[in-house]
Symmetry: C2
Subunit: 423 residues, 2 copies
């Protein structure tokens, strides 16, 4: 007997028929095999589309809505699916009850609409689970110290699931999604993409931050911090499929654990692409101390995340061109802020380009191997793909390219690093 | 300065535009006139149609749903409108916050889906209201002793409003509905129906129980018990109308208060009609002690409310026909139960008729006047309307007639008791 946390997203919870499929998966997980039953906690999202509907109501009510009241409204979506899944499990003969964020409670800070989980009282929960009752927990929601509902920000249910798994010492946190695992790259772009059996927390973080939207980044950070084993698998399986334990998904583990599990690992784990980037070039910025701070200070103050930054040597002495990227959604706001600071910064022109993409190769293996970057640059150059910017981390190399060349670049790199599946 | 509770139903909360109208009414009530502001608590229903949508989900999840989980699901509707109204008030510059049932809390018993309010902690609420913050409270919901969400049953928000008014010692509980008060009868049937300035709790109870669905019966009982003055008025008024205090609705008061307020009162307050009745006749029931118990015992056990009962002298000695009414929705169930008891009861035939209506004249004045019933029977006889059954209470006389004659009967009685408005 072990404890398992299972998390189902909005697509899996969209309507009575799908909730029944989820209930069947949960029931089979609880029953286990050969009498080896599990204590199960299920974390659920709102029905697909419901949170958007509620957010629209909030915007109509007050464009500058109070985030505390926003949380009251949007937390209702997960409350509904939690109650419905508990009922549906009961209909299958599986004892179940819902535990709302304020009931456990899931303690968070008071940063409404983007709260962070601080802890979770698990005594009552564990007692109930030990008696054979499946715990159904709405994701995304918590309780502030002053007794008000909080929410964790969009996609927060993954983080809720990991937090529950950490609090109850679950042996595994299974995240059921509409994909069946983490792939070497987007299978819609590369037909030969392979599903990974294992991926490390760090790799998953890099893959998530560059466009593989399988898991919310915060949930991966939390899992890494708390040492929670996370498995990504598909909720769209046959009702008569083998128990969840045996469906091969992708397990997210620590570096250390990986060494014992996956000796035959490739150098590179995956290729990710992100088209939600926009490039800004400020020309002829004075090349003096503090110039960069006048550019990026106002952007940081406006919570605009700047990613890649390159400072080119200018054509004229004492001047330099500064190139950087921001999320595409923030481009207009960033441009407006920078124009307002034109005199303070002292640039000549602002050039923007939303038609760029960031393509990254990710893998813990590159730490110990030279030549990974060189292969990337050469492979792209051979196909005539121009690199506009480069950024690197310990386990990732990213390049900024023309958006139209995204798919080509991903395919070229997938082959170059020998990630293609062998038929 | 006084305290006012305002309650808005689902039609008034259906969508952002209507919520904005409600917010305007609340803001004007709070501001008052000549600097005489009010402490205001607002109790809200879910958006029209929302509770039905949620109940449908519950039925799909599990036809025999757990009422505790049902409450988790359906309470979300009021949670959403409470948050939205608080935001909308803030957008109008009116400080506001929501207080959910579990936050106050509204203490109830544990009879999920039909819980009864036991009390309400008002300290934090009163402190917040005294500081000028409008309290927005979702109706219909409460908290059981074991910390779970409860709901009060359909239409429970009226009861929530009265309970809040009692707990905070409000000078008035204003129930905003889609009608602008209580009328002498349904204005759709009798064009000359008059709006009543005052009606007593007892009259309102009788009018509610016979088909004037202006207020939930339980809310009127609670108001009577707690001595809460309830006003019924319309939420569909112009945005620029006079403050709510001055809109003439109908005030529900005690007998005692009425005497001082309405000297010129008519003998009869109103005429009500209810088509949701069905008649059952059991023929040739043995006329012996205990026979009636064998009929009504099983119905009571099945929670079927029997209303009018008549025992006709049978044609044959030692036998009698028993006629009674049940809610139309329960007719089939009642019939099945009785057929199963046919031998035990010993009746000959069961005759049912769903095409009947109960028409009632209601008024505290009839207590002190003879001849009220006689006038009713004579007026109906003059128009050839056959009376199938009669029941009376201290302030009400009801007759059962053919459903097709309902409107005619109401018009005849409205004139006979001189209730018609004078042009």
């Amino acid at each position: 007997m072990g404890r398992i946390v299972m998390k189902f997203g909005g697509t899996s919870m969209a309507g009575s028929e799908r909730i029944r499929r989820v209930a069947n998966i949960v029931r089979r997980q609880q029953a286990g095999q050969n009498g080896d039953w599990h204590e199960v906690a299920v974390v659920v999202s709102a029905m697909a589309g419901e949170t958007d509907r509620l957010v629209t109501f909030c915007r109509e009510a007050n464009p500058l809505y109070d985030p505390a009241e926003y949380d009251v409204v949007v937390a209702s979506g997960e409350q509904v699916t939690a109650g419905l899944l508990a009922m549906t499990l009961q209909a299958l003969g599986c004892p179940a009850r819902s535990w709302l964020g304020w009931q456990l409670p899931v303690h968070t800070d008071s940063a409404h609409a983007k709260a962070r989980i601080e802890g979770l009282d698990s005594d009552a929960l564990l007692a109930s689970m030990a008696s054979g009752v499946v715990a159904v927990i709405p994701g995304f929601q918590g309780l502030s110290d002053d007794g008000r509902i909080t929410t964790l920000g969009r996609g927060g249910s993954d983080t809720s699931a990991v937090a529950v798994a950490a609090a109850i010492g679950a042996e595994r946190c299974d995240i059921y999604t509409d994909v069946d695992g983490v792939y070497t790259t987007d299978p819609r772009i590369v037909a030969k993409a392979r599903k990974l059996k294992f991926v490390t927390y760090e790799e998953m973080l890099e893959l998530a931050s560059v466009g593989s939207k399988v898991l919310q980044t915060r949930s991966v950070s939390l899992a890494m911090k708390e040492g929670v084993r996370v498995q990504v698998l598909s909720s769209f399986i046959d009702d008569d499929a083998t128990p969840a334990d045996e469906i091969p998904g992708t397990m997210i583990v620590s570096d250390h654990e990986l060494e014992g599990l996956d000796m035959e690992r490739q150098l590179i784990t995956g290729i990710a692409a992100d088209k939600n980037e926009a490039k800004i070039i400020l020309t002829r910025v004075p090349d003096r101390p503090g110039a960069v701070a006048t550019i990026f200070g106002p952007l940081a103050a406006a919570s605009i995340n700047v990613d890649m930054i390159i400072q080119n040597v200018g054509r004229d002495k004492g001047e330099t061109d500064v190139t950087f990227t921001v999320p595409g959604a923030d481009l207009l706001r960033a441009q407006t802020l920078l124009e307002a600071q034109k005199e303070a910064i002292g640039f000549n022109r602002i050039i923007t380009d939303a038609k760029v993409a960031k393509v990254s190769v990710v893998g813990v293996g590159m730490r110990s191997h030279a030549g990974v970057a060189a292969l990337m640059f050469r492979s792209l150059a051979d196909r005539g793909i121009n690199i506009q910017a480069i950024s690197t981390s310990e386990i990732k190399i990213s390049v900024l390219i023309d958006e139209d060349e995204t798919e080509l670049a991903v395919r070229v790199l997938h082959s170059a690093y020998e990630l293609d599946a062998v038929d």
